[in-house]
Each structure stands twice: as C-alpha cells, then as structure tokens.
C-alpha cells in the first residue's frame, strides 16, 4: 500500500509543480513588458540580461560590477538573472513565447548552434560600427575579425560579440621542464622524441581523462586539422556520401593518434577513471604523466590540486610534414548575443559597447584569469604562451570538433564521440577508425 500512497503523492507533486509553472509563467511575462522601448525610436529604460554565469563565479562578479556601473551612469534599469550554462536552452524556450531577454551570453558555438540555427539572434553589424564606450575605436577595431568569422547569421552579419577566448593547448609543468619552455617541440618527430625520452624514463607521459570523449577527441581533432586544414572535419560530418573521409589527411591523422594510444604513451587506466581524476593526478604529481592536452581553463581547474612549485606552461600541438593546418590554433569565444525580438535591444547594444571598454574588459584578464579578445589587454601569466600561439595563427583559427558541434550536433553525439571512444579503447585501429567514421556518417544521413 505504501507504494500507492507514494504514487498519489508524486502525482500531486507533479500537479502542483505544473500549476506553479502555469501561474508563474504569465507573471514572469509581465516583468519584461510595460515600458515599450526598443525598436520604437525612443531609448529603452530597461535591460533584461540572462547570463551563463552563476552567482559567485569570478565572471559573474566582474559582470555584476559593470552592470551596476552601467545602471548608475545611464539610468537604464538592469534586471539580471544568473542562469548558468543552460541559459541558451532557456532563451530558446522563451523565443517561442515571444518574450526573450534582451541580452544573453554563452560559448559562441552554442549560441550559433541553438539560436543562430533558427534565426533567433539579432544581426550585430550596426553594433560593430559603433564606438566603444569612453574610447575612439570602433567595436570592429578592438575585436579581431578572425575570432568572430564563424559566427554569422544567414545574411552574413556577425551575431556574437566575444569577451573571453578559450582554446586548447598542450599543458606541462614549466618548473619541472624548463627545457620545454625554452625549446618546445615544434614538429611531430620532435614530439615523438620527447615522448620516447619520457617513456624511457619510466613514464606514461600523456595524462587523459578518457571517460570524457571530448578530451579523447582533442587529439583526433588536432591531428585532422594539422593534416587536412581547418574545416575538413565539419565538411566530412555533413557529407552525405562520406567521400570526404577518403581525404588522406584522415588516415594520416588517425595513424599519428594510434601511435600515441597503442605506443604506451597514455597513462594506464585512462578510460577507467572518472573526470577529473587524471588531470588532478597530473597536476599533483601523483601519476607518472607530464602532458595534458586541455582547454585554457586547465590552470584554474587543476590549480588547487597542483603540487607546490607547479607552473602551468603550454606549447602548441606539433606540426606535421606537409600539413595544411600547421599554422592553425584552436580558439573559441564566449560572448554576448541579442535574441531576436528582444524588446530593449538598444540597451543591450549600449551595454556591450560599455563593457568592451579597455579598463572594464581588463578585469576578465586580471580577475578571472582568462584571455580577452583585445590585444591591448595583457594576458594573465598562465595564458601568455597560448596568447603567442594565437597571435601566430592570425585568423587561421578553429573551434572544438572543428565546429562540427554546431553544424552536425547529432553526428557529434552518435557518430564522432562513440567512435573516438572505440578508437581510444583499442577496439579500432587507424584504418578502422576512418572506415567506421565514413560508414556511420553515411548511415546517419541516410536515416535522418
């Protein structure tokens, strides 16, 4: 009988939750409206901002301070909601109802993949032509064009204004390996020499949290970009015939990665632990590892666990003979976007131009230890190596999974990640990896 009572309670619970939503919905809808501003010519007196950051995060503190200053200086009343990483999904739901927030932010690939795909964000070409608050430079003059090139609307206008750059690079302890700081391995053969030397010293030099396929795929993505150039992987992901996988770059890349996986260079049991066990062990010196191919967030994620004296330094993924992407660097951005139908879009644009001011944006570097898109703001010390890598790459930049996450999300979840898992778990060799990618890609497109 207790089961029946429990079912009764849970049903009632669901009902009251549903009622609460029904009641809260219209109330929340009232919040945004009222003063009419926006596109009507008169300036808005209100700004509704839903953020990817959560209360207490460093970025949240920096943004909150800027919002307070903005409200005090302009008289525009700011309503902010610190929603967390799922914010774009929440904004997408509100687009349908017609009352989205005026301003939001997230990883630009996410914005493009979710909102951009349904024309749910405003074109920002006008904003790029306005001047940054308190300066003489235009927005387009402080934000490198290469960074925002991938994020365009169907009409070709930019849809995101970045304020933070993230990317992946090869991390190591600069204190333990000063020779890698002064002379980092440049080519694949330099890299293999380095790995062999470490292996001979009894180490498994590569640390990897293999339960996260995204981290396995850092290696395959980088290798494919190095051999075949930026854009090849996402072209292959969307090629219904699968013929793109016949490009010799795929097999060459897979052979390189296979050497790492099968050559005993990757830490033992890398696929039988749970993130962040391996990266923490790497930083703490508790595993015989030296290298971590990881995002620019590695110093902040592993910093608290790091052994004393550990100095985060990085070098670029090695180049390959004849590679078409040898000059490329991985760089994604986190930035602002203005949802279509936003009622106070003018206020949102005003805030973006306000926040991009050098002194305000510099706090992203000094207080959150992240890289900003402005080259006149110095990088935090741990990201200085990565900034050099980025400057050398110019606008030859690529995104995680070479942007396949935005152009072919189902392919990423059901083809790319599982097959990378099988490859790293030793179920596929290099040729098998490429062959399976090809056949599963064809199958996915046939069924879709």
């Amino acid at each position: 009988m207790s089961a029946m009572t429990q079912m009764g309670i849970s049903r009632r619970g669901v009902l009251s939750a549903a009622l609460a939503v029904a009641v809260a919905g219209p109330l929340a809808a009232c919040g945004g409206g009222g003063d009419g501003g926006g596109g009507g010519g008169t300036a808005s007196t209100q700004l509704v901002y839903w953020s990817m950051w959560k209360q207490g995060e460093d970025q949240q503190k920096v943004l909150q301070a800027a919002l307070d200053e903005f409200q005090a200086k302009t008289g525009i009343k700011v309503e902010v909601q610190w929603s967390g990483r799922d914010v774009i999904k929440q904004v997408a739901a509100r687009l349908n109802a017609g009352n989205p927030p005026d301003l939001t932010d997230q990883d630009a690939g996410t914005i493009k993949g979710i909102l951009g795909k349904v024309d749910g964000v405003k074109n920002l070409d006008a904003l790029y032509a306005t001047t940054v608050d308190g300066e003489t430079k235009k927005v387009s003059e402080v934000i490198p064009a290469g960074l925002v090139k991938p994020y365009r609307s169907s009409s070709g206008a930019p849809i995101v204004v970045p304020y933070e750059i993230i990317g992946s690079t090869m991390w190591f302890d600069g204190a333990a390996h000063p020779d890698w700081v002064s002379a980092p391995p440049k080519t694949w053969s330099d890299f293999m020499t380095l790995l062999d030397a470490r292996k001979a010293a009894g180490r498994t030099p590569i640390a990897l949290d293999g339960d996260i396929k995204f981290y396995d795929a850092y290696f395959t993505t980088w290798s494919i970009v190095r051999h075949g150039g930026v854009g090849l992987l996402s072209r292959a992901a969307t090629d219904k015939t699968g013929a793109t996988f016949d490009d010799p770059a795929f097999l060459a890349a897979a052979r390189d990665v296979e050497k790492l996986v099968k050559g005993g260079y990757v830490v033992k049991d890398f696929n039988a632990t749970k993130f962040p066990a391996q990266q923490n062990a790497w930083a703490a010196g508790k595993s015989p590892t030296d290298l971590l191919l990881m995002g620019t967030w590695a110093p902040s994620e592993t910093g608290p666990q790091a052994a004393s004296g550990f100095t985060h330094r990085s070098f670029a993924y090695p180049t390959v003979p004849g590679g078409k992407g040898n000059a490329a660097a991985e760089a994604g951005v986190i930035g602002f976007a203005i949802p279509a139908k936003a009622r106070h879009a003018d206020a949102a644009e005003k805030f973006i131009a306000f926040f991009l001011n050098k002194d305000r944006l510099a706090k992203i570097s000094t207080e959150t230890k992240n890289l900003t898109p402005r080259s006149d703001i110095p990088a935090p010390a741990v990201l200085a190596d990565y900034q050099q890598e980025l400057i050398a790459a110019g606008d030859n930049l690529f995104l995680p999974y070479d942007d396949a996450g935005a152009v072919a999300p189902e392919w990423v979840s059901n083809v790319w990640e599982p097959i990378n898992g099988d490859f790293f778990n030793g179920k596929l060799d290099a040729a098998g990896f490429v062959a399976k990618l090809k056949s599963e890609t064809v199958k996915l497109h046939k069924n879709a």
Binding site: A93, I212, N414
Partner: protein, 324 residues
Amino acid sequence: MTATMTAATVAPAPAEARSRRRPRASDGPLGRGRRRWYWLFVGPALTVYLAFVAGPAIAGIWISLHSWRGAGDPMRWVGLANYRRLWADDIFRTAFLNSLTILAVCGVAVFALAFVLTMALREMRARSLLRSLLFFPYIVSPIAIGVALGLLLDPRGLANATLRSVGLDSLAQPWLAPDRLFSTILVGIVWVSSGFYVVILMAGMDRIPAYFYEDADLAGATPLQKFRHVTLPLSWDVVSVAAVLWVINSLKIFEFIYAFTGTGDSPAPDTRTVPIHQFVITTGGRSPAYLLGYGAAMGVVLVAAIAILVVLLRRVMRRDAVQF
C-alpha cells in the same frame, strides 16, 4: 505510465454518465438534479486531467509525427518517418536491449535479494532500523551515488584497495573500463533499488498473522517451505504490485546511468538506455541535436512497451486473492 493508470480509473465514468443521460420514466426532478451536479463535481478533475495528463500525452504522439527543433521552428509533418528511423537506428536498438536487460537481469536480482532480505529481517529484532538502512540508498540522490561510486571504483579507489589488502589482487579490476561499465551499472542499480522493494514486500508480509508461521513451525517446515506455502501466497497481491512498479521504474532509469557515465558529453552507446538516448538526441550532449519529433517517437515506443509489459505481467500474476 501514471497517465495509463489514471486513464483506466477515469474511463468508466463517462460511460456511466452516458447511460444515465438517457431519460427514463422513473427520472424525477431528483435525477435531473443529479445529472446537473454530476458534471459540476467531475468537471474540475476532468479539466485538470485533460490539461495536464491527456493533453501532453496526445501532444507527444502528435509531435512524434513531425520534424521539429522546438523553439521558433515550424513543425514539418513527416508521418511515420520518425518510427521508421527508430527501426534503422542501431544505437536505439542497443539502448532498447539495454533497457530490457536492466528490466530482466536487475529485476530477478532485485526481487531475489528483496525476498531473502525480507525473510531474514522478519525474524530479527532491530528490523525497523535495518529496514530504514536498506531503504537509504533509495533516498540519496542518484547523482551523488553515481559520483561516489566513481571514486569508489577508481582503479586506485577503495574497492580495489580493499581487495588488494586482503590478498585478492586478482579480483581487482578497472571497474569503470568501457567493456565492464554496463555490468557495473547493473550491479549498482540492484544495490540502489533493492531497499525500496524490501520495504514494499515487508509491508505486505507484516500483515500475515504470526500463527501461520507458528503452525508451520509445529509441522516442521523449513524456511524455504514457509516462504513457499505461507509468505508468497499470502502476500501475492503486494508482490504483483511491486513487480508492476519495477517494470515501470526500470525502463525509466535515467539519472543513475547519466551520473555514472559522466555528464560531460554523451554516454557511450553501449551504456545508453532508451531515456538516455532520448535525452542525447534532444537536449542532451555537448551539442544538443534538438530532434524533438524523433525523441517523442522514442517516448511513445517506451510508453507502449511499458503498457504491453504491464498488461502481460498482470495476466501472468493474476491469482484469486487468499482471504485471511
């Protein structure tokens, strides 16, 4: 499933109403008054039911016949294409088999364990305390359990350290390695779920008067005979309710596996269940695919599977109630 069960209890009402609506000679003012009041009383409940249970269920079926990304995207009619696609989707087939494996393998284990524990607990003194302790894993957030087990089962974690310390080095395994992960998940589900069914079965068995057992003792019955001839027949109705609950709950298992396989990106196909795969192709994963029509088709198939299994199970387990 709640929907199906509610439907079953509500369905007779309109039929009854129809027969009453037909005017009869004996219908006096009282009858007419009753008819008026009937809808007044039934109305609110029916409205709530239609709006929050029947409506979303029908909408789910409707969406499953479309291609739709949700937010701001016009729905495009595709007929049964989503269902044909399910048929051709290898990952869905794996997920469906995984769900059935959990239902069957974990089901046998959970009920066997629950019966054994129930029998053992029946004769113990601190049984209500023990019962609470057994129920404990069921209360703790599955996410927390998933994370804790990850630490426990780490190759250098407590589980392997304990095995090594007692000399059983050969048994120490990388429990979370891809080939072993699903088996580890099965064991975890049994551990998490058993307490709940122990509590239900014990509630049923507590009603059995002690003199049946005393009589069995006098007749020299073994514990197994007591179970077969006293406990099982006299708690059969509770066992069958518990079995139905298991069918429903086991096919819906989501959070435990999700927490266990890592929330960073999409769980590997070998470890997906239907709800996990449904999540991955809709709003889950590192880059959500938003195939909401396809996801709805999976939901329809899952509900249909549950309904069929529950009906079959009720038939198989139907017995005349023993009066006592």
